[in-house]
Amino acid sequence: MTHPVHPVRQGGLRRALRGNPLNLFALALFALLCFAAAFGPLLVPHDPLATDAAAALQPPSARHWFGTDQIGRDLFSRVVVATRLDLLIALGAVSLSLVAGSALGAIIGYWGGVLDTVVSRLVDVLMAFPLFVLAMALVAALGNSVINVVYATAIVNLPFYIRLARSEVRPRRALGYVEAARAGGSGDWRILLRHLIPNIAAPLVIQASVNLGWAVLNAAALSFLGLGVRPPTPEWGIMVAEGARFIASGEWWIVTFPGLALMLAVLAFNLLGDALRDLLDPRLRR
Protein backbone atom coordinates (compact mmCIF):
# COMPACT_ATOMS: atom_id res chain seq x y z
CA MET A 1 0.00 0.00 0.00
CA THR A 2 2.67 2.49 -0.96
CA HIS A 3 1.22 5.38 -2.81
CA PRO A 4 2.06 9.08 -2.89
CA VAL A 5 -0.28 11.78 -1.63
CA HIS A 6 -3.11 12.16 -4.09
CA PRO A 7 -3.35 15.70 -5.26
CA VAL A 8 -6.94 16.84 -5.78
CA ARG A 9 -7.01 17.02 -9.50
CA GLN A 10 -7.95 20.11 -11.41
CA GLY A 11 -11.71 20.30 -11.72
CA GLY A 12 -12.10 17.24 -9.51
CA LEU A 13 -14.57 19.00 -7.28
CA ARG A 14 -16.69 20.22 -10.14
CA ARG A 15 -16.64 16.79 -11.75
CA ALA A 16 -17.63 15.11 -8.51
CA LEU A 17 -20.59 17.44 -8.21
CA ARG A 18 -21.69 17.04 -11.79
CA GLY A 19 -21.23 13.29 -11.80
CA ASN A 20 -23.66 12.82 -8.97
CA PRO A 21 -26.56 15.21 -8.36
CA LEU A 22 -26.95 13.72 -4.88
CA ASN A 23 -23.65 15.35 -3.92
CA LEU A 24 -25.04 18.77 -4.77
CA PHE A 25 -28.05 18.03 -2.58
CA ALA A 26 -25.72 16.95 0.22
CA LEU A 27 -23.67 20.11 -0.13
CA ALA A 28 -26.82 22.24 0.09
CA LEU A 29 -27.94 20.32 3.18
CA PHE A 30 -24.54 20.76 4.74
CA ALA A 31 -24.63 24.52 4.09
CA LEU A 32 -28.08 24.69 5.66
CA LEU A 33 -26.86 22.80 8.73
CA CYS A 34 -23.85 25.07 9.12
CA PHE A 35 -26.08 28.10 8.77
CA ALA A 36 -28.49 26.78 11.41
CA ALA A 37 -25.59 25.96 13.73
CA ALA A 38 -24.03 29.39 13.34
CA PHE A 39 -27.03 31.69 13.30
CA GLY A 40 -29.95 29.50 14.40
CA PRO A 41 -30.19 30.79 17.98
CA LEU A 42 -30.38 34.38 16.66
CA LEU A 43 -33.07 33.74 14.10
CA VAL A 44 -35.58 31.38 15.67
CA PRO A 45 -39.06 32.83 16.26
CA HIS A 46 -39.44 31.56 19.86
CA ASP A 47 -37.27 30.99 22.91
CA PRO A 48 -36.42 27.24 22.71
CA LEU A 49 -36.77 26.91 26.49
CA ALA A 50 -39.91 29.03 27.03
CA THR A 51 -42.85 26.91 28.15
CA ASP A 52 -46.49 27.74 27.53
CA ALA A 53 -48.92 25.35 29.20
CA ALA A 54 -51.85 26.80 27.26
CA ALA A 55 -50.22 25.86 23.94
CA ALA A 56 -49.10 22.32 24.86
CA LEU A 57 -49.14 19.48 22.27
CA GLN A 58 -50.30 21.60 19.37
CA PRO A 59 -49.89 20.17 15.87
CA PRO A 60 -47.88 22.14 13.30
CA SER A 61 -49.49 25.49 12.48
CA ALA A 62 -48.58 28.87 11.03
CA ARG A 63 -47.53 30.06 14.48
CA HIS A 64 -45.64 26.89 15.45
CA TRP A 65 -44.26 25.41 12.23
CA PHE A 66 -43.28 22.09 13.80
CA GLY A 67 -45.96 22.19 16.52
CA THR A 68 -45.33 22.30 20.26
CA ASP A 69 -44.28 19.68 22.81
CA GLN A 70 -45.96 18.55 26.04
CA ILE A 71 -45.10 21.77 27.88
CA GLY A 72 -45.78 24.10 25.00
CA ARG A 73 -42.23 24.72 23.78
CA ASP A 74 -41.90 25.64 20.11
CA LEU A 75 -40.43 22.61 18.32
CA PHE A 76 -39.15 24.50 15.29
CA SER A 77 -37.01 26.73 17.49
CA ARG A 78 -35.79 23.76 19.48
CA VAL A 79 -34.88 21.71 16.41
CA VAL A 80 -32.96 24.62 14.86
CA VAL A 81 -31.14 25.57 18.05
CA ALA A 82 -30.17 21.94 18.69
CA THR A 83 -28.14 21.86 15.45
CA ARG A 84 -25.14 23.59 17.00
CA LEU A 85 -24.83 21.19 19.94
CA ASP A 86 -25.32 18.04 17.84
CA LEU A 87 -22.78 19.09 15.23
CA LEU A 88 -20.25 20.25 17.82
CA ILE A 89 -20.39 16.93 19.66
CA ALA A 90 -19.82 14.96 16.45
CA LEU A 91 -17.11 17.29 15.17
CA GLY A 92 -15.35 17.34 18.53
CA ALA A 93 -15.39 13.57 18.84
CA VAL A 94 -14.18 12.92 15.30
CA SER A 95 -11.38 15.48 15.48
CA LEU A 96 -10.25 14.05 18.79
CA SER A 97 -10.06 10.50 17.50
CA LEU A 98 -8.49 11.67 14.23
CA VAL A 99 -5.68 13.55 15.99
CA ALA A 100 -5.07 11.15 18.88
CA GLY A 101 -5.57 7.99 16.82
CA SER A 102 -3.32 9.11 13.95
CA ALA A 103 -0.57 10.22 16.34
CA LEU A 104 -0.66 7.02 18.35
CA GLY A 105 -0.95 4.80 15.27
CA ALA A 106 1.92 6.59 13.51
CA ILE A 107 4.14 6.34 16.59
CA ILE A 108 3.62 2.62 17.14
CA GLY A 109 3.89 1.99 13.41
CA TYR A 110 7.18 3.87 13.20
CA TRP A 111 8.93 2.47 16.25
CA GLY A 112 7.23 -0.89 16.66
CA GLY A 113 8.48 -2.88 19.63
CA VAL A 114 6.82 -3.38 22.98
CA LEU A 115 4.68 -0.25 22.77
CA ASP A 116 3.34 -1.46 19.42
CA THR A 117 2.43 -4.84 20.88
CA VAL A 118 0.74 -3.35 23.93
CA VAL A 119 -1.29 -0.77 22.03
CA SER A 120 -2.26 -3.25 19.31
CA ARG A 121 -3.52 -5.71 21.93
CA LEU A 122 -5.50 -2.94 23.61
CA VAL A 123 -7.00 -2.00 20.27
CA ASP A 124 -8.03 -5.63 19.71
CA VAL A 125 -9.76 -5.66 23.09
CA LEU A 126 -11.58 -2.37 22.46
CA MET A 127 -12.76 -3.72 19.11
CA ALA A 128 -14.16 -6.82 20.77
CA PHE A 129 -17.05 -4.74 22.13
CA PRO A 130 -19.98 -3.66 19.99
CA LEU A 131 -19.33 0.06 19.41
CA PHE A 132 -22.55 1.36 20.86
CA VAL A 133 -22.37 -0.84 23.93
CA LEU A 134 -18.85 0.38 24.68
CA ALA A 135 -19.90 4.00 24.18
CA MET A 136 -22.79 3.51 26.61
CA ALA A 137 -20.57 1.98 29.27
CA LEU A 138 -17.93 4.68 28.81
CA VAL A 139 -20.41 7.50 29.35
CA ALA A 140 -21.71 5.70 32.40
CA ALA A 141 -18.16 5.22 33.72
CA LEU A 142 -16.82 8.71 32.92
CA GLY A 143 -19.93 10.46 34.18
CA ASN A 144 -23.13 11.54 32.58
CA SER A 145 -22.20 14.78 30.81
CA VAL A 146 -21.93 16.24 27.31
CA ILE A 147 -18.15 16.35 27.25
CA ASN A 148 -18.04 12.70 28.25
CA VAL A 149 -20.25 11.81 25.29
CA VAL A 150 -17.60 13.48 23.14
CA TYR A 151 -14.82 11.49 24.83
CA ALA A 152 -16.75 8.22 24.67
CA THR A 153 -17.53 8.64 20.97
CA ALA A 154 -13.89 9.52 20.34
CA ILE A 155 -12.49 6.55 22.29
CA VAL A 156 -14.84 4.09 20.61
CA ASN A 157 -13.56 5.23 17.21
CA LEU A 158 -9.92 5.46 18.18
CA PRO A 159 -9.03 1.85 17.18
CA PHE A 160 -9.94 2.46 13.53
CA TYR A 161 -7.61 5.46 13.28
CA ILE A 162 -4.81 3.74 15.19
CA ARG A 163 -4.94 0.69 12.92
CA LEU A 164 -5.14 2.77 9.76
CA ALA A 165 -2.27 5.11 10.70
CA ARG A 166 -0.12 2.19 11.84
CA SER A 167 -0.65 0.20 8.65
CA GLU A 168 0.05 3.26 6.50
CA VAL A 169 3.25 4.22 8.32
CA ARG A 170 4.84 0.78 8.61
CA PRO A 171 5.63 0.11 4.95
CA ARG A 172 6.90 3.67 4.50
CA ARG A 173 9.60 3.45 7.14
CA ALA A 174 12.14 2.09 4.68
CA LEU A 175 11.12 4.13 1.64
CA GLY A 176 13.61 6.25 -0.24
CA TYR A 177 12.37 9.60 0.92
CA VAL A 178 12.54 8.57 4.57
CA GLU A 179 16.05 7.21 4.08
CA ALA A 180 17.00 10.44 2.35
CA ALA A 181 15.62 12.52 5.21
CA ARG A 182 17.48 10.38 7.71
CA ALA A 183 20.73 10.68 5.73
CA GLY A 184 20.14 14.41 5.64
CA GLY A 185 20.26 14.44 9.41
CA SER A 186 16.57 14.50 10.31
CA GLY A 187 15.67 12.94 13.63
CA ASP A 188 12.89 10.40 14.10
CA TRP A 189 10.32 12.92 15.26
CA ARG A 190 11.11 15.25 12.40
CA ILE A 191 10.75 12.40 9.89
CA LEU A 192 7.45 11.42 11.47
CA LEU A 193 6.01 14.92 11.57
CA ARG A 194 7.39 16.43 8.37
CA HIS A 195 7.51 13.45 6.06
CA LEU A 196 5.36 10.54 7.16
CA ILE A 197 2.27 12.21 8.64
CA PRO A 198 1.63 14.44 5.60
CA ASN A 199 1.90 11.36 3.40
CA ILE A 200 -0.66 9.33 5.29
CA ALA A 201 -3.09 12.21 5.84
CA ALA A 202 -5.41 11.44 2.91
CA PRO A 203 -6.75 8.05 4.03
CA LEU A 204 -7.12 9.32 7.60
CA VAL A 205 -9.10 12.37 6.54
CA ILE A 206 -11.30 10.13 4.40
CA GLN A 207 -11.91 7.91 7.41
CA ALA A 208 -12.84 10.97 9.48
CA SER A 209 -15.28 12.30 6.91
CA VAL A 210 -17.02 8.94 6.60
CA ASN A 211 -17.06 8.76 10.38
CA LEU A 212 -18.88 12.06 10.99
CA GLY A 213 -22.36 10.82 10.17
CA TRP A 214 -21.91 7.88 12.48
CA ALA A 215 -20.74 10.21 15.27
CA VAL A 216 -23.86 12.37 14.97
CA LEU A 217 -26.00 9.25 15.15
CA ASN A 218 -24.08 7.81 18.10
CA ALA A 219 -24.33 10.99 20.18
CA ALA A 220 -28.05 11.35 19.50
CA ALA A 221 -28.65 7.69 20.35
CA LEU A 222 -26.84 8.11 23.67
CA SER A 223 -28.92 11.10 24.65
CA PHE A 224 -32.04 9.28 23.48
CA LEU A 225 -31.25 6.76 26.23
CA GLY A 226 -30.78 9.56 28.76
CA LEU A 227 -26.96 9.55 28.64
CA GLY A 228 -25.06 12.77 28.15
CA VAL A 229 -27.12 15.82 27.29
CA ARG A 230 -29.71 16.62 29.94
CA PRO A 231 -33.13 18.14 29.45
CA PRO A 232 -34.27 20.84 28.96
CA THR A 233 -31.31 21.45 26.62
CA PRO A 234 -32.55 21.28 23.04
CA GLU A 235 -30.89 18.25 21.44
CA TRP A 236 -32.34 15.96 18.74
CA GLY A 237 -31.93 12.68 20.60
CA ILE A 238 -33.57 13.98 23.78
CA MET A 239 -36.41 15.56 21.83
CA VAL A 240 -37.12 12.21 20.16
CA ALA A 241 -37.05 10.52 23.58
CA GLU A 242 -39.52 13.07 24.95
CA GLY A 243 -41.79 12.64 21.97
CA ALA A 244 -41.68 8.84 22.24
CA ARG A 245 -44.14 8.99 25.12
CA PHE A 246 -46.71 10.67 22.93
CA ILE A 247 -46.38 8.68 19.72
CA ALA A 248 -48.94 6.04 20.71
CA SER A 249 -51.53 8.73 21.40
CA GLY A 250 -50.99 10.20 17.93
CA GLU A 251 -48.81 13.28 18.55
CA TRP A 252 -46.43 12.42 15.73
CA TRP A 253 -44.75 15.80 15.30
CA ILE A 254 -42.70 15.73 18.50
CA VAL A 255 -40.71 12.72 17.28
CA THR A 256 -40.82 13.36 13.55
CA PHE A 257 -39.19 16.79 13.24
CA PRO A 258 -36.12 16.27 15.42
CA GLY A 259 -35.84 12.77 13.95
CA LEU A 260 -35.95 14.20 10.44
CA ALA A 261 -33.32 16.80 11.30
CA LEU A 262 -31.11 14.06 12.67
CA MET A 263 -31.63 11.90 9.61
CA LEU A 264 -30.88 14.73 7.18
CA ALA A 265 -27.72 15.65 9.07
CA VAL A 266 -26.47 12.06 8.99
CA LEU A 267 -27.44 11.74 5.32
CA ALA A 268 -25.56 14.92 4.42
CA PHE A 269 -22.43 13.75 6.23
CA ASN A 270 -22.59 10.26 4.74
CA LEU A 271 -23.02 11.53 1.19
CA LEU A 272 -20.28 14.13 1.59
CA GLY A 273 -17.99 11.57 3.17
CA ASP A 274 -18.47 9.26 0.19
CA ALA A 275 -17.95 12.13 -2.22
CA LEU A 276 -14.76 13.19 -0.47
CA ARG A 277 -13.51 9.62 -0.53
CA ASP A 278 -14.08 9.41 -4.28
CA LEU A 279 -12.36 12.74 -4.74
CA LEU A 280 -9.28 12.06 -2.62
CA ASP A 281 -8.77 8.42 -3.37
CA PRO A 282 -8.90 7.53 -7.05
CA ARG A 283 -8.14 3.90 -6.22
CA LEU A 284 -11.63 3.54 -4.84
CA ARG A 285 -13.34 5.08 -7.86
CA ARG A 286 -15.72 2.69 -9.46
Partner: protein
Protein backbone atom coordinates in the same frame (compact mmCIF):
# COMPACT_ATOMS: atom_id res chain seq x y z
CA UNK B 1 -9.58 -28.58 12.03
CA UNK B 2 -6.33 -27.51 13.69
CA UNK B 3 -6.83 -24.10 12.16
CA UNK B 4 -10.19 -23.80 13.87
CA UNK B 5 -8.53 -24.81 17.13
CA UNK B 6 -5.84 -22.18 16.68
CA UNK B 7 -8.42 -19.55 15.91
CA UNK B 8 -10.31 -20.51 19.07
CA UNK B 9 -7.13 -20.20 21.12
CA UNK B 10 -6.37 -16.78 19.68
CA UNK B 11 -9.67 -15.52 21.08
CA UNK B 12 -8.55 -16.23 24.65
CA UNK B 13 -6.21 -13.25 25.20
CA UNK B 14 -8.85 -10.94 23.73
CA UNK B 15 -11.45 -12.43 26.03
CA UNK B 16 -9.18 -11.90 29.01
CA UNK B 17 -8.61 -8.29 27.95
CA UNK B 18 -12.37 -7.87 27.72
CA UNK B 19 -12.74 -9.09 31.30
CA UNK B 20 -10.08 -6.62 32.50
CA UNK B 21 -11.58 -3.67 30.62
CA UNK B 22 -15.08 -4.51 31.82
CA UNK B 23 -13.88 -4.77 35.39
CA UNK B 24 -11.98 -1.48 35.29
CA UNK B 25 -14.78 0.39 33.55
CA UNK B 26 -17.38 -0.57 36.09
CA UNK B 27 -15.02 0.15 38.99
CA UNK B 28 -14.58 3.75 37.92
CA UNK B 29 -18.33 4.24 37.62
CA UNK B 30 -19.23 7.41 39.42
CA UNK B 31 -21.01 7.00 42.67
CA UNK B 32 -20.47 4.26 45.16
CA UNK B 33 -23.28 1.73 45.16
CA UNK B 34 -23.01 1.65 48.94
CA UNK B 35 -23.85 5.35 48.96
CA UNK B 36 -26.78 4.57 46.72
CA UNK B 37 -28.23 2.65 49.63
CA UNK B 38 -27.23 5.41 52.01
CA UNK B 39 -29.78 7.67 50.36
CA UNK B 40 -32.15 5.60 52.41
CA UNK B 41 -32.18 7.58 55.71
CA UNK B 42 -32.93 4.45 57.73
CA UNK B 43 -29.42 3.17 57.04
CA UNK B 44 -26.58 4.00 59.41
CA UNK B 45 -22.90 4.38 58.62
CA UNK B 46 -22.35 0.87 59.94
CA UNK B 47 -24.94 -0.51 57.51
CA UNK B 48 -23.16 1.22 54.63
CA UNK B 49 -19.84 -0.23 55.74
CA UNK B 50 -21.48 -3.64 55.87
CA UNK B 51 -22.79 -3.22 52.33
CA UNK B 52 -19.34 -2.18 51.14
CA UNK B 53 -17.90 -5.25 52.77
CA UNK B 54 -20.40 -7.69 51.26
CA UNK B 55 -19.75 -6.15 47.85
CA UNK B 56 -16.00 -6.45 48.45
CA UNK B 57 -15.53 -2.73 47.89
CA UNK B 58 -13.26 -2.29 50.91
CA UNK B 59 -10.52 -4.42 49.36
CA UNK B 60 -7.68 -3.20 47.13
CA UNK B 61 -8.42 -3.16 43.42
CA UNK B 62 -6.26 -6.13 42.40
CA UNK B 63 -7.86 -8.27 45.08
CA UNK B 64 -11.30 -7.24 43.91
CA UNK B 65 -10.24 -8.30 40.43
CA UNK B 66 -9.03 -11.70 41.61
CA UNK B 67 -12.28 -12.26 43.49
CA UNK B 68 -14.15 -11.22 40.37
CA UNK B 69 -12.17 -13.66 38.21
CA UNK B 70 -12.79 -16.45 40.69
CA UNK B 71 -16.52 -15.80 40.71
CA UNK B 72 -16.58 -15.55 36.94
CA UNK B 73 -14.94 -18.96 36.64
CA UNK B 74 -17.86 -20.37 38.62
CA UNK B 75 -20.39 -18.65 36.38
CA UNK B 76 -21.20 -16.12 39.10
CA UNK B 77 -21.74 -12.67 37.61
CA UNK B 78 -22.64 -11.08 40.94
CA UNK B 79 -25.98 -9.88 42.20
CA UNK B 80 -28.08 -7.01 40.91
CA UNK B 81 -28.69 -4.33 43.53
CA UNK B 82 -31.90 -3.18 41.90
CA UNK B 83 -33.63 -6.57 41.61
CA UNK B 84 -31.75 -8.51 44.31
CA UNK B 85 -31.38 -11.45 41.92
CA UNK B 86 -28.16 -13.10 40.66
CA UNK B 87 -27.15 -11.35 37.45
CA UNK B 88 -26.56 -14.63 35.62
CA UNK B 89 -30.17 -15.67 36.29
CA UNK B 90 -31.48 -12.25 35.22
CA UNK B 91 -29.62 -12.51 31.93
CA UNK B 92 -30.62 -16.12 31.36
CA UNK B 93 -34.23 -15.00 31.73
CA UNK B 94 -33.86 -12.04 29.36
CA UNK B 95 -31.37 -13.26 26.77
CA UNK B 96 -33.86 -15.36 24.75
CA UNK B 97 -36.05 -12.31 24.20
CA UNK B 98 -33.13 -10.37 22.73
CA UNK B 99 -31.76 -13.33 20.81
CA UNK B 100 -35.10 -14.19 19.24
CA UNK B 101 -35.61 -10.61 18.10
CA UNK B 102 -32.08 -10.23 16.75
CA UNK B 103 -32.16 -13.52 14.86
CA UNK B 104 -35.49 -12.76 13.22
CA UNK B 105 -34.27 -9.28 12.28
CA UNK B 106 -31.08 -10.76 10.85
CA UNK B 107 -32.98 -13.32 8.75
CA UNK B 108 -35.30 -10.59 7.53
CA UNK B 109 -32.38 -8.34 6.57
CA UNK B 110 -30.45 -11.07 4.76
CA UNK B 111 -33.47 -12.33 2.84
CA UNK B 112 -34.21 -8.84 1.55
CA UNK B 113 -30.67 -7.51 1.11
CA UNK B 114 -29.10 -10.37 -0.89
CA UNK B 115 -31.75 -10.44 -3.66
CA UNK B 116 -31.73 -6.63 -3.72
CA UNK B 117 -27.96 -6.53 -4.09
CA UNK B 118 -28.12 -9.23 -6.77
CA UNK B 119 -30.74 -7.34 -8.74
CA UNK B 120 -28.64 -4.19 -8.62
CA UNK B 121 -25.45 -6.05 -9.60
CA UNK B 122 -27.01 -7.78 -12.61
CA UNK B 123 -28.01 -4.46 -14.12
CA UNK B 124 -25.54 -1.82 -12.91
CA UNK B 125 -26.61 1.71 -13.81
CA UNK B 126 -30.22 0.69 -14.38
CA UNK B 127 -33.26 2.11 -12.62
CA UNK B 128 -33.21 -0.82 -10.19
CA UNK B 129 -29.61 -0.08 -9.34
CA UNK B 130 -30.33 3.59 -8.63
CA UNK B 131 -33.37 2.74 -6.53
CA UNK B 132 -31.30 0.28 -4.52
CA UNK B 133 -28.59 2.87 -4.02
CA UNK B 134 -31.14 5.38 -2.75
CA UNK B 135 -32.67 2.89 -0.31
CA UNK B 136 -29.24 1.90 0.93
CA UNK B 137 -28.08 5.49 1.47
CA UNK B 138 -31.29 6.38 3.29
CA UNK B 139 -31.02 3.19 5.32
CA UNK B 140 -27.64 4.01 6.85
CA UNK B 141 -28.80 7.51 7.71
CA UNK B 142 -31.92 6.44 9.58
CA UNK B 143 -31.51 6.47 13.34
CA UNK B 144 -32.95 3.16 14.59
CA UNK B 145 -34.93 4.76 17.37
CA UNK B 146 -36.58 7.26 15.04
CA UNK B 147 -37.52 4.63 12.45
CA UNK B 148 -38.95 2.47 15.22
CA UNK B 149 -41.13 5.26 16.57
CA UNK B 150 -42.31 6.32 13.11
CA UNK B 151 -43.19 2.72 12.28
CA UNK B 152 -45.21 2.54 15.49
CA UNK B 153 -47.07 5.66 14.42
CA UNK B 154 -47.78 4.41 10.91
CA UNK B 155 -48.55 0.74 11.59
CA UNK B 156 -50.06 0.90 15.07
CA UNK B 157 -51.64 4.34 15.45
CA UNK B 158 -52.70 5.03 11.86
CA UNK B 159 -53.17 1.65 10.20
CA UNK B 160 -53.82 -0.40 13.33
CA UNK B 161 -52.36 -3.53 11.72
CA UNK B 162 -49.95 -4.44 14.53
CA UNK B 163 -50.61 -5.05 18.24
CA UNK B 164 -49.70 -2.48 20.88
CA UNK B 165 -45.90 -2.19 20.75
CA UNK B 166 -45.22 -3.17 24.36
CA UNK B 167 -43.38 -6.35 25.30
CA UNK B 168 -43.25 -9.77 23.66
CA UNK B 169 -46.84 -10.96 23.96
CA UNK B 170 -50.28 -9.55 24.50
CA UNK B 171 -50.83 -9.51 28.29
CA UNK B 172 -54.13 -11.41 27.86
CA UNK B 173 -52.37 -14.40 26.32
CA UNK B 174 -50.56 -17.04 28.34
CA UNK B 175 -46.93 -17.72 27.54
CA UNK B 176 -46.24 -21.26 26.37
CA UNK B 177 -44.33 -23.63 28.65
CA UNK B 178 -40.76 -22.37 28.73
CA UNK B 179 -38.31 -24.68 27.01
CA UNK B 180 -35.96 -22.53 24.97
CA UNK B 181 -37.22 -19.11 26.02
CA UNK B 182 -37.86 -18.34 22.33
CA UNK B 183 -41.60 -17.73 22.33
CA UNK B 184 -41.98 -18.85 18.72
CA UNK B 185 -40.17 -22.15 19.25
CA UNK B 186 -41.86 -22.80 22.59
CA UNK B 187 -45.25 -22.16 21.01
CA UNK B 188 -44.39 -24.60 18.22
CA UNK B 189 -43.31 -27.21 20.75
CA UNK B 190 -46.55 -26.69 22.65
CA UNK B 191 -48.42 -26.93 19.36
CA UNK B 192 -50.12 -23.61 20.02
CA UNK B 193 -50.63 -21.85 16.68
CA UNK B 194 -52.40 -18.87 18.21
CA UNK B 195 -49.48 -18.00 20.46
CA UNK B 196 -47.01 -18.52 17.61
CA UNK B 197 -48.93 -16.09 15.42
CA UNK B 198 -49.29 -13.59 18.25
CA UNK B 199 -45.59 -13.72 19.12
CA UNK B 200 -44.56 -13.27 15.48
CA UNK B 201 -47.04 -10.44 15.07
CA UNK B 202 -45.64 -8.69 18.12
CA UNK B 203 -42.09 -9.15 16.89
CA UNK B 204 -42.72 -7.90 13.36
CA UNK B 205 -42.26 -4.18 13.99
CA UNK B 206 -39.17 -4.28 16.21
CA UNK B 207 -37.55 -6.86 13.91
CA UNK B 208 -38.32 -4.77 10.83
CA UNK B 209 -36.84 -1.70 12.55
CA UNK B 210 -33.64 -3.53 13.26
CA UNK B 211 -33.52 -5.13 9.82
CA UNK B 212 -33.92 -1.80 8.06
CA UNK B 213 -30.75 -0.61 9.68
CA UNK B 214 -28.83 -3.73 8.61
CA UNK B 215 -30.12 -3.66 5.04
CA UNK B 216 -27.70 -1.03 3.80
CA UNK B 217 -24.31 -2.64 4.44
CA UNK B 218 -25.53 -6.08 3.32
CA UNK B 219 -27.02 -4.83 0.06
CA UNK B 220 -24.03 -2.66 -0.69
CA UNK B 221 -21.59 -5.51 -0.15
CA UNK B 222 -23.64 -8.05 -2.13
CA UNK B 223 -23.81 -5.64 -5.04
CA UNK B 224 -20.11 -4.78 -4.98
CA UNK B 225 -18.98 -8.38 -4.58
CA UNK B 226 -21.27 -9.60 -7.36
CA UNK B 227 -20.13 -6.91 -9.77
CA UNK B 228 -16.50 -7.75 -9.06
CA UNK B 229 -17.08 -11.48 -9.52
CA UNK B 230 -19.17 -11.12 -12.67
CA UNK B 231 -16.34 -9.11 -14.23
CA UNK B 232 -13.68 -11.70 -13.47
CA UNK B 233 -11.99 -14.02 -15.94
CA UNK B 234 -13.46 -17.32 -14.84
CA UNK B 235 -16.97 -15.96 -15.41
CA UNK B 236 -15.93 -14.88 -18.89
CA UNK B 237 -14.61 -18.37 -19.47
CA UNK B 238 -17.85 -19.92 -18.21
CA UNK B 239 -19.78 -17.60 -20.50
CA UNK B 240 -17.57 -18.53 -23.46
CA UNK B 241 -18.11 -22.19 -22.65
CA UNK B 242 -21.79 -21.57 -23.24
CA UNK B 243 -23.14 -22.10 -19.74
CA UNK B 244 -26.57 -20.66 -19.11
CA UNK B 245 -26.83 -17.25 -17.49
CA UNK B 246 -28.78 -18.59 -14.53
CA UNK B 247 -26.20 -21.26 -13.89
CA UNK B 248 -23.33 -18.78 -14.10
CA UNK B 249 -24.95 -16.32 -11.74
CA UNK B 250 -26.15 -18.76 -9.12
CA UNK B 251 -23.59 -21.54 -9.17
CA UNK B 252 -20.38 -19.74 -10.05
CA UNK B 253 -20.69 -16.04 -9.31
CA UNK B 254 -22.86 -16.08 -6.20
CA UNK B 255 -20.77 -18.66 -4.44
CA UNK B 256 -17.61 -16.68 -5.07
CA UNK B 257 -19.21 -13.39 -4.11
CA UNK B 258 -20.46 -14.88 -0.87
CA UNK B 259 -17.18 -14.52 0.99
CA UNK B 260 -17.17 -10.75 1.54
CA UNK B 261 -20.93 -10.94 2.10
CA UNK B 262 -20.46 -13.40 4.96
CA UNK B 263 -17.80 -11.16 6.49
CA UNK B 264 -20.24 -8.26 6.27
CA UNK B 265 -22.92 -10.42 7.85
CA UNK B 266 -20.71 -10.85 10.90
CA UNK B 267 -20.20 -7.11 11.12
CA UNK B 268 -23.91 -6.46 10.69
CA UNK B 269 -24.84 -8.98 13.34
CA UNK B 270 -22.60 -7.26 15.84
CA UNK B 271 -24.05 -3.86 14.87
CA UNK B 272 -27.40 -5.36 15.68
CA UNK B 273 -26.26 -6.45 19.12
CA UNK B 274 -25.57 -2.79 19.86
CA UNK B 275 -28.73 -1.53 18.16
CA UNK B 276 -30.69 -3.96 20.31
CA UNK B 277 -30.44 -1.56 23.22
CA UNK B 278 -32.24 1.17 21.30
CA UNK B 279 -34.87 -1.06 19.75
CA UNK B 280 -35.67 -2.68 23.08
CA UNK B 281 -36.09 0.74 24.63
CA UNK B 282 -38.46 1.88 21.89
CA UNK B 283 -40.62 -1.27 21.95
CA UNK B 284 -40.44 -1.93 25.73
CA UNK B 285 -38.88 -5.27 24.84
CA UNK B 286 -37.91 -7.19 27.99
CA UNK B 287 -34.42 -8.11 26.77
CA UNK B 288 -30.88 -7.69 28.04
CA UNK B 289 -30.36 -4.26 26.44
CA UNK B 290 -33.26 -2.71 28.33
CA UNK B 291 -31.96 -4.31 31.51
CA UNK B 292 -28.49 -2.83 30.92
CA UNK B 293 -29.90 0.67 30.50
CA UNK B 294 -31.80 0.34 33.76
CA UNK B 295 -28.65 -0.73 35.56
CA UNK B 296 -26.72 2.25 34.21
CA UNK B 297 -29.42 4.53 35.59
CA UNK B 298 -29.32 2.72 38.95
CA UNK B 299 -25.48 2.65 39.12
CA UNK B 300 -25.86 -1.10 39.36
CA UNK B 301 -22.31 -2.47 38.67
CA UNK B 302 -22.89 -6.15 38.30
CA UNK B 303 -25.55 -6.22 35.56
CA UNK B 304 -23.65 -3.65 33.47
CA UNK B 305 -20.49 -5.71 33.85
CA UNK B 306 -22.39 -8.85 32.89
CA UNK B 307 -23.96 -7.13 29.91
CA UNK B 308 -20.63 -5.96 28.54
CA UNK B 309 -19.11 -9.39 29.02
CA UNK B 310 -21.99 -11.15 27.29
CA UNK B 311 -21.95 -8.66 24.42
CA UNK B 312 -18.20 -8.96 23.92
CA UNK B 313 -18.34 -12.75 24.18
CA UNK B 314 -21.15 -12.88 21.59
CA UNK B 315 -19.21 -10.49 19.40
CA UNK B 316 -16.07 -12.65 19.56
CA UNK B 317 -18.16 -15.77 18.95
CA UNK B 318 -19.78 -14.21 15.87
CA UNK B 319 -16.35 -13.32 14.47
CA UNK B 320 -15.18 -16.88 15.09
CA UNK B 321 -18.18 -18.31 13.27
CA UNK B 322 -17.59 -15.92 10.38
CA UNK B 323 -13.97 -17.02 10.11
CA UNK B 324 -14.93 -20.68 10.16
CA UNK B 325 -17.74 -20.25 7.64
CA UNK B 326 -15.38 -18.29 5.39
CA UNK B 327 -12.91 -21.15 5.47
CA UNK B 328 -15.67 -23.55 4.45
CA UNK B 329 -16.93 -21.36 1.60
CA UNK B 330 -13.52 -20.47 0.30
CA UNK B 331 -10.80 -23.11 0.64
CA UNK B 332 -8.17 -20.45 -0.06
CA UNK B 333 -8.85 -18.79 3.29
CA UNK B 334 -8.03 -22.03 5.09
CA UNK B 335 -4.50 -22.22 3.74
Amino acid sequence: MSRVGLRLLSAIPTLFGVVVVTFLLTRVLPGDPAVFFASNPAMSAADIAAVRETLGLDQPLYQQFLIYLGNLAQGDLGRSIATGQPVAAEFARRLPASAELTCLAFLLAVSVAVPLGLAAALRPGSLVDHAVRLIVTLGVSMPTFVTGLLMIYVFYVLAGVVPEPIGRLDPFLFEPARVTGFLTIDALLAGDRQILAAALHQMLLPAATMALFALAPLTRMTRAAMIATLGSEFIRTARAAGLSRGRIVVVYALRNALLPVVTTMGMVFSYMLGANVLVERVFSWPGIGAFAIDSIVNLDYAPLQGFMLIMAALFIAVNLVVDIVSAIIDPRVGH
